[in-house]
């Protein structure tokens, strides 16, 4: 049915995108990956449980898999927009790499974006603060200790 398709516009990584013929039930994750080819945002649980699809909306982390694209009003930042354009790493990315928090890497874009918002609000974070503040991101390689170390290290910089 024709009315199952909608047009919408999204601001992603500083640019405005006009999306034609999206499904009315389409998620932000789906638009980012399959219409804008921003595949750094990962698709996993699709129920807001794992955090792999985390993006920033006006600077705050949300699960893009359970955000209706039609209901996203604000500036979206994906890992492509967060990472420096010259290919270098942010201090947080460097700290996570140095701590050894990179195995399969699937959770990492979400970890980095959630972590970036976390350290913004928690300078010199304690381990307990990291454990609570990062509870929305799962790592199936279970590299949690190096993740905690990397985020603590980055929050102290």
């Amino acid at each position: 049915m024709d009315d199952e398709r909608i047009n919408l516009s999204l601001r992603v990584n500083g640019a405005t995108h006009r999306i034609e013929d999206a499904w009315y039930f389409e998620t932000l994750l789906s638009v980012l990956r399959y219409r804008l080819a921003l595949t750094g945002t990962k698709q996993a649980c699709e129920t807001g449980s794992c955090g792999a699809c985390t993006v920033l909306l006006d600077g705050r982390p949300i699960n893009s898999c359970i955000a209706l694209a039609a209901d996203v009003d604000g500036d979206v930042t994906t890992i492509e927009g967060y990472s420096p354009a010259d290919g270098s790493l942010t201090p947080l990315q460097e700290a996570l790499l140095a701590a050894g928090d990179v195995q399969c890497g699937y959770c990492l874009p979400g970890m980095v974006l959630a972590g970036s918002a976390f350290i913004e609000e928690h300078p010199n974070a304690t381990e307990d603060e990291v454990r609570e503040g990062m509870c929305g991101n799962l790592c199936r390689c279970t590299a949690y200790l190096s993740m905690i170390e990397g985020i603590r290290e980055a929050s102290a910089r």
């Binding site: 909608i6 998620t27 807001g48 209706l68 009003d73 959630a114 918002a117 509870c135 929305g136």
Partner: protein, 290 residues
């Protein structure tokens, strides 16, 4: 701006409460959506194939928290239905809500999920309703027949009418002891198996509680609260020996818990009794420490 008023017949985003009520009537098959964290996940799981969505995000009067005055003297705090759980946490209205909200899902979910969405469908496992029962809140709503305000007790018993949406939650100023505890499969994110929220206000000399996960909706612990308010010697701030035990027993008696894949009815009833007793013991200890 992503959208204005209606994007198609299937996604409607009203910009005023009036428009929203009209849209509810015109599109009764639309699923009303606060932040969508539950609604969109249910679609992904195949639980729901909603033919249309009515988004509440574009209605300014549903957003934001207006803090009330001090305990005993001040007016109520007003929490708009579209307030995110993160914004409610940031508003620091009550020590009970602080603990409860930090245990509620993840930072990502709290940045999106709304107060109205957490209570609208009266799901027993959701966190806010037991707390709002313990804080003696009221719920304002609007529908085709106008607006109304009900106690949270009436709201959890009756729910929303046809085409009715939640406008706000009002929290009366309340001091004293406020606690929320739960049993859950783990400390991290996830629904509680059972939860208890209790508030004991020495100024108003009142006890209110809410029970989660142990009935078809959140339940008030009215009989237990009445018993304790009567048993406490408010002048000295002490409860007699055995009052905590009896309080827990009465809370458990108010439950009608389900047996499901997470826990048996007996486990839940026992957990409620233990949590109720321990909360009153904790209050007693606080009183003795002064």
């Amino acid at each position: 701006m992503t959208v204005t008023s209606a994007m198609s017949g299937r996604v409607v985003r009203p910009t005023s409460l009036e428009e929203a009520i009209t849209a509810c009537t015109q599109r009764p098959d639309a699923r009303i959506m606060g932040g969508g964290t539950l609604v969109v996940a249910e679609r992904a799981l195949g639980i729901s194939t909603t033919p249309a969505y009515l988004l509440l995000s574009g209605i300014p009067e549903l957003h934001g928290v207006t803090p009330g005055g001090a305990a005993a003297t001040g007016g109520p705090s007003r929490i708009g239905a579209q307030t995110t759980l993160r914004a409610l946490l940031d508003a620091a209205l009550s020590p009970m809500l602080d603990v409860a909200l930090r245990s509620l899902a993840t930072p990502q979910i709290r940045n999106r999920a709304t107060v109205g969405g957490n209570i609208a469908e009266r799901r027993p496992a959701h966190t806010l309703a037991p707390c709002l029962l313990a804080l003696d809140a009221s719920v304002g709503s609007a529908g085709p027949d106008g607006t109304r305000r009900r106690s949270i007790r009436d709201f959890v018993a009756e729910g929303l009418g046809e085409g009715e949406i939640i406008v706000d939650v009002a929290l009366p100023a309340r001091g004293g002891f406020q606690r929320f505890v739960r049993v859950a499969p783990r400390n991290g994110p996830g629904y509680a198996i059972a939860s208890v929220a209790v508030s004991i206000d020495p100024t108003g000399r009142s006890v209110h509680s809410g029970i989660g996960g142990s009935g078809s909706t959140a339940l008030p612990g009215t009989a237990a609260d009445d018993f304790l308010a009567e048993a406490i010697d408010w002048a000295s701030g002490a409860a007699p020996a055995g009052a905590a035990e009896e309080y827990g027993r009465l809370l458990a008696a108010a439950c009608d818990p389900p047996t499901d894949d997470r826990a048996s009815a007996g486990y839940r009833r026992h957990a409620i009794a233990v949590m109720g007793r321990r909360l009153i013991e904790a209050w007693n200890e606080e009183q003795q420490r002064g």
